[in-house]
């Protein structure tokens, strides 16, 4: 397969970019990938996935900047990084940046990961409550299921379990 950019050298980098849930494919030779700044981390060209990301971020800033806060003035109060610096660097300054930039992050994460919410591992020590919340969500889905199937005895049992778990959280 030839590089889609120059059409001369063989394409040696193959990857997909997710934009609004649509995946687009890229087949590039290294020279063209380097030029476009779309190298993947760890290759000899260095960390230019950040350039790729910052492209996405800037696009978003322009798109949303018209109607919402100016990205210059959106700032993390803890480390001082502005949203516009974040879009250029493609990296957060501290864990609080996630909180201060929260409103802007859903579209970004959707593009990069196709999703916005973590569903994986939870720290053992601080994660007790999160685990209970997840358990409650699962039970609620099963409750709805059993109501749909008119299994009322099961539904009653599930409702009790949910109440018990919710009580545990409020007592905490």
């Amino acid at each position: 397969m030839l590089c889609q950019e120059c059409g001369k050298r063989p394409a040696s980098l193959h990857f997909s970019k997710i934009v609004n849930g649509d995946k687009s494919e890229y087949h590039l030779c290294e020279a063209c990938a380097r030029e476009k700044g779309e190298l993947i981390p760890g290759t000899s060209g260095g960390f230019s996935i950040h350039n790729l990301l910052s492209g996405l971020l800037n696009f978003e800033a322009v798109e949303q900047g018209k109607r919402t806060v100016n990205p210059e003035s959106l700032r993390c109060e803890v480390c001082g990084m502005t949203y516009s610096q974040f879009s250029k660097l493609g990296r957060f300054g501290c864990s609080s940046c996630y909180k201060y930039f929260n409103n802007r992050l859903d579209p970004l994460f959707k593009r990069v990961h196709g999703s916005t919410v973590h569903t994986g591992k939870v720290p053992l020590r601080v994660g007790g409550e999160i685990k209970t919340k997840r358990q409650i969500e699962t039970l609620k889905r099963r409750l709805q299921d059993s109501i749909d199937h008119e299994e009322f005895e099961t539904a009653a049992q599930l409702r009790d379990q949910i109440r018990e778990l919710e009580r545990q959280i409020t007592e905490h």
Partner: protein, 355 residues
């Protein structure tokens, strides 16, 4: 004082052992990224902050449960010269970013080199587990167990909704990057590789060739890794990668069988020519060396070449990189002599195995 044992010799424990599916899968690697709640990420942290991060994480290393993973040898990057850094990167024990860009960076490497704990890379903590062959699930389990021990002592930056918070938005959520390095010469020879790799890149995985000094994928080596870290659980990420790798293994095996049944003579000729060149060449560049080593590895797998352990190929893969090559000849290599010494070293290694 830095421990230089890891650059004294090119073999890692994993190169000597075979591992599962080791004819096609060279190694399995898992890396998890974590940050401490109370400090800014390394990009914005002051040197004072980073020193505190080091101290805090160093305390954790005293946890007796870590003894199960063998002695962990500390290396301070600021006290390591460029050659040794380069060699640690060539062995995949540290990332290029830790070697070249970190402030107050350190790494703790286990005796068998399967575990390395990087401090103050792009994130405060990166736990890497590197296993021979196809053992991605085992690598994840070990890295996760080490993660649990750290979590017992320090408070991670974690958010209910976003998961583990990382410096780069591409790592948020699980912080997990799982990758498998595969040798796929038959898929390349039968020209099926691009079709397969582009299919793989459509399902949220990244494929890249392994690069040497030049610009093309070298030695028919490909690294397959997950791209998505948010919205999938670790088990889903690992299972997804495993099942794709298993399918690629199946395709590569089928292609090898087809080569042997339909073009045995041509494959034998190619393999033996490469074996001949590696055995007798006086000068060889890194790109040609990688290609010939790939041919010989295939020849060993197909039973066309006897008397050379497949592990010798793993060893040569590392040894022919510039850093290790330089070190093998005690730093006596002048500019422009690299290709001559590379050829010499390969001849020696093959000669020894042929005895």
């Amino acid at each position: 004082m830095n421990d230089l044992r890891f650059t004294e010799q090119p073999f890692s424990h994993w190169m000597r052992t075979a591992g599962n599916e080791s004819e096609i899968v060279i190694s399995s690697r898992v890396r998890i990224a974590r940050n401490l709640q109370k400090h800014p990420f390394p990009l914005l942290a002051t040197n004072q902050h980073l020193e505190e991060v080091q101290q805090e994480l160093r305390q954790v290393l005293k946890d007796p449960r870590l003894k199960a993973y063998g002695v962990l040898h500390p290396i301070q990057l600021s006290e390591t010269d460029d050659l040794n850094k380069k060699m640690l990167v060539e062995k995949h024990l540290i990332s290029p970013s830790l070697a070249n860009e970190s402030r107050n960076g350190a790494v703790y490497i286990s005796e068998d080199e399967s575990l390395s704990i990087m401090v103050n890379e792009e994130d405060h903590l990166r736990i890497q587990c590197l296993y021979p062959g196809f053992q991605i699930k085992e690598a994840w389990e070990k890295a996760s167990a080490v993660d649990d021990i750290f979590e017992d002592h320090v408070t991670y930056a974690f958010d209910d909704k976003r998961g583990y918070l990382t410096s780069c938005p591409t790592n948020v959520g699980t912080g997990l990057r799982a990758s498998v390095m595969m040798h796929l010469p038959a898929l390349v020879l039968t020209q099926q590789i691009n079709r397969i790799l582009s299919a793989v890149s459509q399902i949220g995985l990244t494929v890249r060739g392994i690069y040497g000094e030049g610009s093309e994928a070298m030695g028919n080596l490909f690294q397959i890794s997950n791209q998505i870290t948010l919205g999938q659980s670790e088990a889903e990420i690992i299972d997804n990668l495993r099942s794709v790798v298993l399918q690629i293994i199946g395709h590569e095996k089928a292609a090898r069988e087809r080569l042997m049944s339909e073009s045995r003579l041509r494959v034998t000729d190619r393999v033996m020519r490469s074996f001949g060149i590696l055995s007798y060449a006086a000068v060889i560049d890194s790109k040609e060396a990688a290609q010939r080593l790939s041919d010989v590895r295939l020849g060993i797998n197909l039973g066309l070449i006897d008397g050379i352990a497949p592990q010798t190929m793993n060893e040569l893969m590392v040894l022919t990189q510039p850093g290790f090559l330089y070190k093998s000849f005690n730093g006596k290599i002048e500019a422009g002599e690299m290709d001559m010494y590379r050829a010499k070293l390969i001849r020696q290694k093959l000669g020894k195995s042929l005895k």
